[in-house]
């Protein structure tokens, strides 16, 4: 039975989600970027209002007017000018756009943490009236809910009106569709795009001001809540605002009604109720194979291609310093060694991303989920007295089928949709498995026999990393590796050349999941416990950013990234690595090929393009062919 009271209560949550989703969709369509930092922008504006009203004693209306009307759009302008304009001009695909927006997300959270600390503020000022309105039949609905619903509908109507019926709307859509062509059509693309960003950020600010009173104000709460409502945007296929509003309300009501069901011993209903938005995100992504993405055919074709520096053959023995640096921690004391143990484990997870995204062009934001499953499976096996080494590799094998399941949707999805799908898988796994004590409380993780000693365990990790690097390297230069690159660069072309694209994609996801699981299991064994927070889906986003920033098709870059992440967090405060990665990600448009490639280029003082053609060593067949072509 549905009850009216619960439904009305659920409308409150629904209205909030609708606001966030409408803002995200509008900002996506106005800028062409699926902005993961939307929630972070909302959070910053909410904090500003709190600061001005609660600390400085400004009148509420003045603070809101200033922050939503001026500060938020100005932030949008800054983002457009310094982060995204360069990427748009290059025609960067969704992977780099996502990473850049992730960089903004992380930076804003970092700034908020530095400025206001992590403690929650309980008194964000509210601009909606309190109290409730009585309805017939002894029920009532909160006044605030009605106001919020009104705002959502008004915003949606305004957006629809502007995009459909004004010249600016057509110009904005033209810029998002094909920027260069819009310039040829006399549209000042930079200015129009800036206006789109200003408007999108203003909506984020409005969302923040309206949502903050419903939550405690801290750097993460609002930011993550908005990430959850991605599901609503996905149901609307990133396009339809009315569908988004209805879906948000339906989920809100559904969540509320679920609370009436009897609690079951599995805890499934509670988990479902608490995480309905995440579940809807995954289901919607699986049911709807295609979003209505913006950008012309060029943009979608470039979707999975990631600009990388020019590959050059490395000098002989280039790996010697790596081995030396990797072996150095063996001389450290036990305490430092325990920190150093995270590096090879994390490097293995990162290398799985290099294979998936760098070599095969498949975006995966969900590696944290696979890594966590690896740790959990290993822990479960060890608690059943399976020898540690067996548990380690068995856990990695067991995660391979999960990777197969995730790879299956990848057959038909690419770019942004695939990225969101993998993120949804990680989020669901995190909420329904990692967060359930039922699955995690009895997991036992420890250094496996015969590597109980800290030094021995570290050496074993290095061996695993070496093995993974070797396998990946062999894979990359093999026929299969060439097939994967072909799929990355031109799916149809690869299919026409006889590559079984579907199998290749599923295969690479399965192997990637297994490798990530191995890394995750090592991470867990190093820490001697299963820590759900170590495999949070948001952390998976940061990992992806780290790998892209350090050169997505460079395994050496991945190892370097892992070292930097661990070292920064150990040497300064936890979370510092995230801020550094964020800062680097924001600068991505200025660093083609990632940090190491850019550093090498700067060090060598060469222009971006190779000055001379790279000498090619021909095979006998090649020589024969060339002789025929150029006698």
């Amino acid at each position: 039975m549905l009850t009216v009271e619960l439904a009305l209560a659920g409308l409150g949550v629904g209205a909030i989600a609708a606001l966030a989703a409408v803002g995200m969709i509008t900002s996506y369509r106005a800028t062409g970027v699926f902005n993961l930092s939307f929630g972070a922008l909302a959070m910053i504006v909410a904090y500003l209002v709190w600061q001005q009203v609660r600390v400085w004693g400004w009148p509420l209306w003045a603070a809101v007017l200033l922050d939503v009307g001026v500060v938020a759009p100005a932030l949008g302008l800054v983002l457009e000018r310094f982060v995204f304009r360069g990427l748009h001009r290059e025609g960067a695909g969704p992977a780099r756009m996502l990473v850049a927006s992730l960089g903004v997300f992380v930076l804003l959270v970092g700034v908020a943490t530095l400025t206001w600390g992590t403690q929650a503020r309980l008194d964000p000022p509210s601009i909606v009236p309190t109290g409730s309105v009585a309805l017939p039949g002894d029920t009532s609905v909160a006044r605030g809910t009605l106001v919020e619903l009104g705002v959502v509908i008004a915003v949606a109507a305004l957006v629809a009106g502007v995009t459909r019926y004004t010249r600016f709307g057509v110009r904005l859509r033209a810029v998002v569709d094909r920027r260069a062509l819009a310039e040829l059509a006399g549209v000042p693309a930079d200015r129009v795009a800036a206006a789109g960003w200003a408007f999108g950020s203003m909506l984020a600010g409005l969302t923040g001001v309206l949502l903050a009173p419903h939550l405690r104000l801290d750097p993460y709460g609002l930011t993550l809540l908005v990430l959850e409502t991605i599901g609503v945007a996905v149901v609307a296929r990133l396009a339809s605002l009315p569908v988004a509003i209805l879906a948000a309300l339906a989920i809100g009501v559904g969540q509320s009604e679920l609370s009436r069901l009897e609690l079951d011993s599995w805890g499934l209903i509670q988990a479902l109720q608490a995480n309905l938005f995440v579940v809807v995100m995954l289901v919607a992504l699986l049911v709807l194979p295609r979003m209505i993405e913006v950008g012309g055919p060029d943009a979608t074709r470039a979707a999975t291609r990631i600009g990388t520096g020019h590959g050059e053959s490395a000098p002989a023995g280039w790996w010697v310093p790596f081995v030396a640096v990797a072996a150095a921690p063996l001389a450290l004391g036990a305490e430092h060694l325990r920190i150093a143990q995270q590096v090879p484990a994390l490097a293995i997870v990162f290398v799985s991303l290099v294979m998936l995204t760098g070599y095969a062009g498949q975006i995966s934001l969900g590696q944290a989920g696979f890594a966590g499953l690896g740790a959990l499976f290993a822990g479960q096996l060890m608690s059943r007295h399976v020898p540690g080494l067996v548990a380690l590799f068995l856990a990695a094998l067991l995660v391979v089928p999960v990777g197969l399941l995730t790879g299956w949707p990848a057959i038909r999805r690419r770019g942004l949709t695939l990225a969101l799908t993998t993120f949804a898988v990680a989020a669901v796994v995190s909420r329904f498995v990692f967060a359930q004590p039922r699955f995690t409380s009895d997991a036992v993780l420890d250094h496996p026999w015969p590597f109980e000693d800290e030094r021995a365990f570290y050496a074993m990790e290095l061996a695993c990393l070496g093995l993974v690097l070797l396998v990946i390297r062999r894979l990359h230069v093999s026929r299969l590796g060439r097939m994967l690159v072909a799929v990355r660069d031109h799916e149809r072309g690869a299919a026409a050349a006889g590559v079984d694209v579907s199998s290749a994609k599923v295969f690479v996801f399965a192997i990637g999941a297994g490798v990530a699981a191995l890394g995750g299991a090592l991470l867990g064994m190093g820490g001697r416990a299963f820590d759900a927070a170590a495999f949070d889906p948001v952390l998976g986003l940061v990992w992806f950013a780290a790998v892209v920033v350090f050169g997505v098709d460079s395994a050496a870059g991945a190892v370097l990234a892992a070292g930097l992440v661990v070292a920064l967090d150990a040497a300064t405060t936890a979370g510092m690595s995230t801020i550094v990665i964020g800062a680097l990600a924001v600068l991505l448009s200025r660093m083609p090929g990632g940090v190491p490639a850019t550093a090498l280029r700067l060090a060598a003082g060469r222009p971006a393009a190779p000055a001379e053609p790279i000498p090619v060593r021909l095979t006998p067949l090649g020589r024969t062919l060339r002789a025929r072509v150029r006698p």
């Binding site: 010249r167 057509v170 110009r171 859509r173 033209a174 998002v176 569709d177 094909r178 260069a180 062509l181 819009a182 310039e183 040829l184 059509a185 006399g186 549209v187 000042p188 693309a189 913006v294 950008g295 012309g296 055919p297 222009p607 971006a608 393009a609 000055a611 001379e612």
Partner: protein, 226 residues
């Protein structure tokens, strides 16, 4: 005849490679000019430079006597210099009506529909779903709505049925009048040469022929005619 667009000493570099080695061109106002060149001749580079999408490393571009070398693409477009790029100068994600409205200053899309009636039946369709010929008609149709003074057409007929191509050439050549200049940029010389009053041939980044279409056929440098 007054000169609409003139180019002097134009050089364009892509990193270490120079694609145009000092090109001098003059496009007479109100005429149809053909610019022919094979793949790799620097044809697209020249066009993109004229439209403002590529910055030259040396040389000047004059538009009715005004130096526009430093102007960005959108400013040139507003000044009346329109490039219709090779294959699909349309916004695939926008409807046909929106594609036209983007260019129609007063909102009147009548002239485009009059020239290509088929577009009238497709107004609410996304431009990306049109056939190649219809997309090219849409691209040319848009140019009819703007106060275009100079129309640069890159490979107008590429991949199109002969009948469709003929119709497109007919429309664009009638566009050329005292006020408007048309430049046909082609790889193959057939149709464009028949319509043009002046011909330029570009080869390996330099102009190898300039003059009358009838002379072109007998010119020794016109090696690449097909």
């Amino acid at each position: 005849m007054p000169i609409a667009l003139s180019v002097t000493g134009l050089r364009v570099r892509y990193g270490p490679i120079e694609a145009l080695h000092g090109v001098d061109l003059e496009f007479p106002s109100g005429a149809v000019t053909a610019l022919v060149g094979r793949n790799g001749s620097g044809r697209s580079t020249l066009l993109n430079t004229l439209a403002g999408l590529v910055r030259p490393s040396a040389g000047r571009v004059l538009w009715h006597g005004v130096d526009i070398t430093g102007w960005p693409a959108d400013r040139r477009a507003r000044a009346g210099l329109t490039l219709i790029p090779e294959r699909g100068g349309v916004f695939a994600g926008l409807t046909v009506a929106d594609n036209l409205k983007l260019f129609a200053d007063g909102g009147d899309i009548g002239p485009a529909l009059a020239a290509f009636p088929i577009l009238g039946d497709r107004l609410t369709q996304k431009a990306g779903t049109l056939s190649g010929g219809e997309q090219q008609m849409l691209a040319v149709g848009r140019a009819l709505l703007t106060p275009t003074k100079l129309l640069l057409l890159d490979e107008l007929s590429q991949g199109l049925a002969p009948r469709v191509a003929a119709r497109l050439y007919e429309v664009v050549t009638t566009l050329a009048d005292a006020d408007r200049t048309v430049i046909l940029v082609e790889q193959h010389t057939g149709e464009a040469l028949d319509r043009a009053e002046v011909v330029y041939a570009l080869s390996r980044g330099t102009i190898t022929f300039r003059g009358d279409p009838t002379e072109y056929h007998t010119h020794p440098n016109a090696t690449h005619r097909t």
